[in-house]
Subunit: 136 residues, 2 copies
């Protein structure tokens, strides 16, 4: 576990799992709400964009442009949550006007693989599902 | 692509991808809505339960019991959508009273791997995220 004061949160190592692990089938477990969020299209897009080697750190407006269809309010909300959860790091540059940059923490980066797998599945099978819907 | 009349939908093979593939970053693409749904906690739980070798086919009430916290209405809605999308197969047994069974199609089964990867990440890192939230 990271110390409370650390700025970066790293992925949990196997030795930590025995201490505290989520359980999707436990009705009280926050893993349920977490899964709903990390499995959402907007989080998938934020993680995907910031995981690109060409855009490891972006300003708000740059991220907004990279995610067609997202509203200012929604992007702001999602970034705030991802920052609170330690998946995204927010860096404020002391300039006039102030510039704010976003990048993935190591924990956020560790989510890129799992999200890519799900996204790949969705993109690859969209055609089959669409055909199925039309035939229903 | 499966023929419109086929009862089972199989996962898209690589040769189909050139024909029609989703794109999460396309604002018009249904992949966005699909990803939101397959990344949700309830779909993750339905797929996980039905992918267990011990429970490949379940009745509605059995599924409901296996998913603590889900409402009758929500489970009914999710199963209807998953059936329409060709991920779940609904079998009606001609008995009195009529018995309805649900199982995964090959397409639904192909989603089990991707969902497991995301769920594993959420369960493994819930502790680190929870600690981060408490320290914020």
């Amino acid at each position: 576990m990271p110390s409370p004061g650390s700025r970066e949160v790293t992925a949990t190592t196997p030795s930590d799992l025995a201490l505290r692990r989520g359980d999707l089938f436990d009705v009280e477990c926050p893993t349920r709400e977490l899964l709903d969020r990390i499995g959402s299209k907007w989080v998938a897009m934020i993680i995907t964009v910031l995981a690109r080697p060409t855009t490891p750190e972006l300003r708000f407006a740059e991220l907004e442009r990279a995610m067609p269809g997202i509203s200012h309010r929604m992007l702001s909300q999602e970034l705030k949550r991802l920052t609170l959860d330690g998946l995204v790091h927010r860096r404020v540059e002391d300039s006039v006007p102030v510039k704010v940059f976003y990048r993935l923490t190591p924990l956020g980066m560790s989510l890129h693989g799992p999200i890519s797998v799900l996204r790949e599945w969705a993109e690859a099978n969209m055609g089959a599902i669409d055909a199925r819907r039309r035939s229903a």
